[in-house]
């Protein structure tokens, strides 16, 4: 009888840990996404050169050191509440940017004009490509916001599908680099 009760107690503790871990995993989802993006992008040959966060948005910057091409990411978890994650699925707003070092001052000024025009677009809508320029480092960036379904990259047991994430990042940066080259007239 006592053994049976012990087993019931152990079962209750195990179940409590399961619920606790489910909640924990959901609150850690944005960090899991940051880690997966870093691992996937470094695996592609880029070096992480900047990592910071304002608590809601997480910012990452990578550089391909030989060519100085850069990738920038802004990541925001859209389903921090477990209820939202269970009902709608886990989603994140991810802005991916691609940048090139440009020595031609004329091209940087023209990108700055495009940046001004980009200010009039509703960049909160996904798929809107906007232009940005960093005068101090002489970089021109193009960026696009996307809403990604995180369930396709992360399973319940903290497993990450790096291959799929890498593939999605690569496809997006390819499209952005084509757009930027078109703008620069290269």
């Amino acid at each position: 009888m006592s053994e049976e009760l012990d087993q019931v107690f152990v079962g209750l503790v195990n179940q409590s840990w399961k619920h606790y871990n489910e909640e924990l995993q959901n609150t850690r989802m944005d960090d899991l996404l940051v880690g997966a993006v870093i691992a996937s992008t470094v695996e592609q040959g880029y070096a992480l050169i900047d990592l910071n966060s304002d608590g809601t948005n997480h910012y990452l910057r990578f550089e391909w050191l030989q060519t100085r091409q850069r990738l920038i990411f802004q990541l925001q978890n859209l389903s921090e509440a477990l209820v939202t994650a269970k009902v709608l699925g886990r989603r994140a707003r991810v802005t991916i940017g691609y940048g090139e070092n440009v020595q031609n001052t004329g091209a940087v000024w023209s990108a700055l004009k495009a940046e001004m025009k980009s200010g009039f677009l509703d960049a909160a809508e996904p798929g809107v490509i906007t232009c940005d320029a960093d005068l101090t480092a002489s970089y021109i960036y193009v960026q696009v916001p996307l809403i990604l379904d995180l369930d396709q990259y992360f399973s319940d047991g903290w497993q990450v599908n790096y291959q799929l994430l890498q593939n999605h990042i690569y496809a997006t940066t390819q499209a952005l680099s084509k757009y930027l080259r078109g703008r620069l007239g290269a």
């Binding site: 070096a47 992480l48 020595q103």
Partner: protein, 176 residues
């Protein structure tokens, strides 16, 4: 002129970013070891990343802290190189903590108060149902970055070696 200045700025930026480059390499190396990153904390000069070892019978989590000591300026880089301490902490979690365990842990914790760990020593600590083993090493950042697969393998060996050592120290504390 514009190009010359931009090269100078780029060199400075890369020198300042060496600890971030190493953090990126650590996250990639741990992902290859089946330990995805699940927590990030960044301060000035110190970066702290928590990893979740998948399918590990002993370890619940691993926390790696990188604290850059030198190499922020061109002079420091030339004279001292880019030195940093890397602290690796492994955690065992027992899912049920009883009062007897807490009394035993208390004894070890009192013994630890007077122990000042040297670089390379392993220190054990208890926190309720967690037991933590910590080891700190002084490294040269340049040995572990920007050399392609060669530096990636060296970093992977360093991390795997320390994590295995900590796992062995912690294994006796893991309850079934």
């Amino acid at each position: 002129m514009f190009s010359f200045l931009s090269n100078f700025k780029h060199g400075q930026e890369m020198r300042e970013s060496k600890d971030e480059i190493l953090v990126g390499e650590i996250v990639r190396a741990m992902a290859r070891l089946q330990c995805p990153a699940i927590g990030f904390m960044a301060g000035t000069g110190e970066q702290n990343v928590r990893f979740k070892p998948l399918n590990d019978p002993v370890l619940h989590s691993v926390i790696i802290t990188l604290d850059r000591k030198t190499g922020g300026s061109a002079l420091q880089q030339a004279v001292l190189g880019s030195k940093a301490t890397i602290t690796i902490q492994a955690e065992v979690k027992n899912y049920l903590a009883d009062p007897d365990d807490l009394i035993n842990m208390y004894r070890t914790d009192i013994a630890n108060i007077f122990k000042v760990p040297m670089l390379g020593d392993v220190r054990l600590d208890h926190q309720l149902n967690s037991i933590l083993a910590t080891k700190k090493n002084l490294i040269d950042i340049d040995a572990y970055i920007l050399k392609g697969e060669e530096s990636a393998q060296r970093l992977s060996q360093l991390l795997n070696g320390v994590i295995n050592e900590l796992r062995q120290k912690l294994a006796p504390y893991k309850k079934a």
